[in-house]
Symmetry: C2
Subunit: 316 residues, 2 copies
């Protein structure tokens, strides 16, 4: 494994780096911003890449926002982009459900642990869903009838074929119990013609969410591992580093993998995504979750080809 | 490993079994009842054991009820017992905090993920706590100031020295985010004289809770693994199969381990608890989580010495 090349402050190396790629897949949280705080020089850096004729695609595991909402956030921060240049884990999951799973009646609904971003992307693919932001599921505590109804399936929708878990700031026991009931197939007993457990999907497995220069529960921690710990089954995750997402990105953007570079802050999502996808390169930034010491460990999940202190250092 | 002996319907074998033990440590959920449904013949079986001069101690990982509440439940179901014969994971955790950790000011508070049972046991040991059932923490969703206050520690209590995670039917993102902030030591930055991260304890690690002949999220799934997945650290668990609990049980009841039998439904808590504690015997019942096929697997967490279809079969 070659030593990652440090680019910050090295103009000739930056020029050589930029010449190698046509397309940059760019993670958002921890690369462009932390929460609502955009790092210095980011808009200018993205403009520079675009002015050099590079395609910039924003690839995010954050499932709470739809592509349109991401577009609005990027634009409001002065980062130039098109809706079509955004690829989120919610969108990735919606495409997987509609085009690969091809759910059909009578098991064609998705039970959602997540926010409006997931709902918007499911709706954009014409997929029926429940749970999500429905106030009915924003409930704390359990009544005796909640336990009984989930246990015997009478409180569950017999049409649910998928449980999709993402980042949910309104996660609670009542929602988790419903999701677990679907994964166990409790709802199938209501109709002898319908059987089996719901398919377990996750938008992403990120353990933490970088916010306000600190870390908060990520989708992986607040909803996904809770469910896998109960069922003993791992979900199919549709966000980075899942190569199902890479295939979808490649299919949509018709990119030449050898001329594409993944930029991100997290080794076990972003950098692993690029390495396993056999991209031409990977660039780690140190403004997010992982630091240099992390990839120097023997059990590092992935090692980048290049690194900079912050993305804005690419301005040279 | 000897084959477990099947006792149901075999009166001579049951007599020989009973003669071997003076004390029975008895799990509750999945052994005596499922939720509020007491299995047939349970009160009579417990009376039979007591009439034969056996000591019956109820050892439960369910942290939602205090010993007093457990006593009320057992009594209401016609199961004869004393408060002193009940040993729960909340009580186990409270004892560990007060007598082993011996928290002292200014880091002497416990942040609780759990229900009133934990609070009652902490109070019985004179331990200050926050979180728990406080309505302030029964909140869905996150405001921008919630993220900011947890990140910089201004919304956290600088006196917190322990995060204690148990089964919480009101678990939510806001509570998890507070617990994570304490485990990361975000609150320490408020006072230069106080530093370090809170100690991570769990009442128990049960992945599921048997209720209504079905399974629901257990403490391990709904709160503990969410936090360990974020921090990368495992808590010290004070419930079965933790031998910290066995030591506390032995200390309290002055039992002769060789004349003590653990009775339970779950291999990775109850049976493992008895095997690792070098008790004279372990008895599995098939009215709860695990079945015969589970201990016949090569990777079974523990194998019982005896088993019955249901505890009431001990009546012979």
């Amino acid at each position: 494994m070659a030593e990652p090349q440090y680019l910050s402050g090295n103009s000739p190396a930056i020029s050589a780096f930029l010449d190698k790629f046509d397309t940059f897949l760019i993670d958002c949280d921890g690369v462009l911003w932390s929460g609502d705080h955009v790092f210095d020089g980011i808009p200018e850096t993205i403009k520079l890449l675009q002015n050099k004729g590079k395609r910039t695609v924003f690839v995010t595991n954050n499932s709470t926002k739809s592509r349109k909402e991401y577009y609005a956030k990027l634009s409001s921060k002065g980062i130039p982009c098109q809706v079509e240049d955004i690829f989120g884990s919610s969108y990735s999951a919606a495409i997987y459900i509609s085009r690969i799973l091809k759910l059909e009646p009578p098991r064609n609904k998705v039970f959602v642990l997540g926010e409006a971003g997931i709902e918007a992307e499911l709706a954009s693919e014409g997929i029926a869903y429940l749970g999500g932001t429905d106030p009915k599921y924003r409930k704390l505590g359990m009544e005796p009838e909640d336990f009984a109804g989930i246990a015997d399936g009478s409180a569950l929708d017999p049409d649910v074929g998928v449980v999709l878990a993402g980042l949910d700031f309104h996660i609670n026991y009542y929602k988790l119990a419903h999701a677990h009931g679907y994964l166990c197939g409790n709802h199938a007993s209501k109709d002898a013609n319908k059987s089996g457990k719901a398919v377990f999907l996750a938008t992403n497995m990120d353990s933490t969410l970088p916010m306000c220069h600190s870390f908060f529960p990520g989708a992986g921690s607040a909803s996904v591992v809770a469910l896998s710990n109960m069922t003993g089954d791992q979900p199919l995750a549709l966000g980075k580093p899942s190569q199902a997402m890479m295939d979808a990105v490649e299919g949509k953007f018709h990119l030449d993998r050898s001329r594409t570079c993944m930029i991100g802050d997290r080794l076990n999502t972003d950098i692993q995504f690029g390495v396993q996808g056999h991209l031409g390169g990977t660039l780690a930034v140190l403004t997010g979750v992982n630091k240099k010491a992390d990839w120097e460990k023997a059990d590092a999940p992935a090692v980048p080809a290049y690194y900079v202190d912050g993305l804005a250092d690419l301005r040279g």
